[in-house]
């Protein structure tokens, strides 16, 4: 199964009338790295929400891990979600939990025994440069620090797909570089990575990444390369 994700004529309409996403048809290869770009309001977050199963499409079909994700029964969603790591645009950290506990959440949710939690969490904290903030609660962290906690939480469970919504929006260029390097390492270990970003500097840092661009809810794909399993590189 080369395609980990496959969208066919997917449309998404919120309660407010017009379709936010329309006629999306593309597939993502297992183990590849994708950037999703587009103007603010183009629908990047909406597309990612479909991908990490927090929203069902209004039409079309989505296959995830080789299974129909649209008709997936509710009881099977948790199992799928544990295979997907998400960095939310608004972080969604639990404010009353320490950085440590926030990062440990995916492990605890999947039932990892408590004695096997501490080491990976500390390792992740070191990776994102927050070893000295282990016990800090999110409201006491800067925007960039919160973002790094969110990233650590998304990757700690070694997900098959990592979905990141503007993960470098709040950090300085050096930290952005480090975070992208983290994503890249994860990608080399086999994780499929999808990163939504406005930041063109980011795009250049991963030369082997594929590009997807949304414009007003449609995929702009002048080369047609995204409709089918993409060629080795676009740009």
């Amino acid at each position: 199964m080369a395609n980990i994700v496959q969208f066919e004529n997917v449309g998404l309409r919120y309660d407010t009338g017009q379709e936010t996403l329309c006629d999306l048809s593309f597939s993502l290869s297992r183990g590849a790295f994708y950037f999703l770009t587009g103007a603010s309001g183009a629908g990047k977050t909406s597309l990612l929400r479909l991908l990490y199963l927090s929203q069902r499409p209004t039409r079309g079909s989505i296959r995830l891990f080789g299974e129909d994700a649209v008709t997936l029964p509710r009881a099977r969603l948790p199992g799928f979600r544990r295979r997907i790591g998400v960095v939310f645009q608004d972080f969604r950290l639990v404010p009353h939990l320490s950085a440590f506990d926030n990062i440990a959440l995916p492990l605890r949710v999947s039932g990892v025994p408590e004695r096997e939690v501490a080491d990976p969490v500390r390792e992740m904290l070191a990776w994102v440069g927050l070893s000295d903030k282990t016990d800090a609660r999110p409201p006491t962290l800067s925007g960039g620090e919160q973002q790094r906690v969110a990233i650590a939480r998304a990757v700690i469970g070694r997900p098959e797909i990592l979905v990141a919504d503007e993960p470098t929006g709040n950090v300085d260029p050096d930290m952005a570089e480090r975070l992208l390097h983290l994503f890249d390492s994860l990608n080399r270990l086999g994780t499929t990575v999808v990163v939504a970003t406005h930041d063109f500097h980011t795009l250049k840092r991963i030369p082997h990444a594929h590009m997807m661009r949304l414009d007003k809810g449609r995929l702009v794909d002048p080369t047609g390369s995204l409709r089918f399993p993409p060629p080795d590189t676009v740009q």
Partner: protein
Amino acid sequence: MTMGIIASAADRRLLDDRHGTRAMAWVMAIMLFLTVLAAALGLATLGVAAVLDRQLAGRLTVQVVAPAESVRTREAAAALAALKRLPEVRRAVAVDPAHLAEMLRPWLGTDGADPDLPIPAMMDVDLTQASAATLARVQAVVRAAAPSARVDRQESWLGPVRSVMRMLSGMAGGLVLLMAGATAAVVILAARAGLDTHSDTIAVLHMLGSTDVQVARLFQRRIGLDTLLGGLVGMAAAIGVVLLVGVQLDALGSDLVTGLQLGVRDWVILGCLPIAFAILATLAARLAVLAALRRVL
């Protein structure tokens, strides 16, 4: 997230506790206080009814009412002799006429002592068993020996007391059930409020792949534990009241009061109430949370 009944420290931190969610324990203390009192009342009145049953079943009063004293004395002696011969009769004693006159004096005045005023001769009879057939046989034998005799079951005039006791027991049982219903309702409301308060945390847990059952467990454990703790406090207070009332009743020293005492079985039932309510609360919380979560993706 652990599977056990006791939450791990990490699980306990998940739901923020600072905003007075523990008020629940106090509500439960009050609920259990009232429930244990109602249950104690029900069990006590049930005990009285049982004592009455045991004492009254097979207890008869025989009155010989012939107006002429000589006839009355002869008939009474014959009836007593006949009764004593019956194998179904365990005990038959004549009530001392002096004692009877003493008892009647408040109604009859000093004239009660007037030997001309006919006072019926009375006998208390205990039967070995209380079947209708035995009663009929005793009646026939007494009538044959003493034509003017009347046989009354004591049951028939203490019966209303027993009905009142039974009704009180029934009401107490109904109260306990109502309290259980109210407790479940309180728990459901608390669980829904908790879901609202913690909706952001729950959304995050869901996105990280928590199952509904995992989320429900966070709530049900906490609510079950609050109910148990509050319930124990409420029960302790209620038992204090019950013991106090028991001491006061003992001072009355009446026969019926002996029946009001709670037996070992009754105490065990009372002691189980907080546990039963904690289990009920746990289930109610679980169902409420699962039902609410089913509505989100």
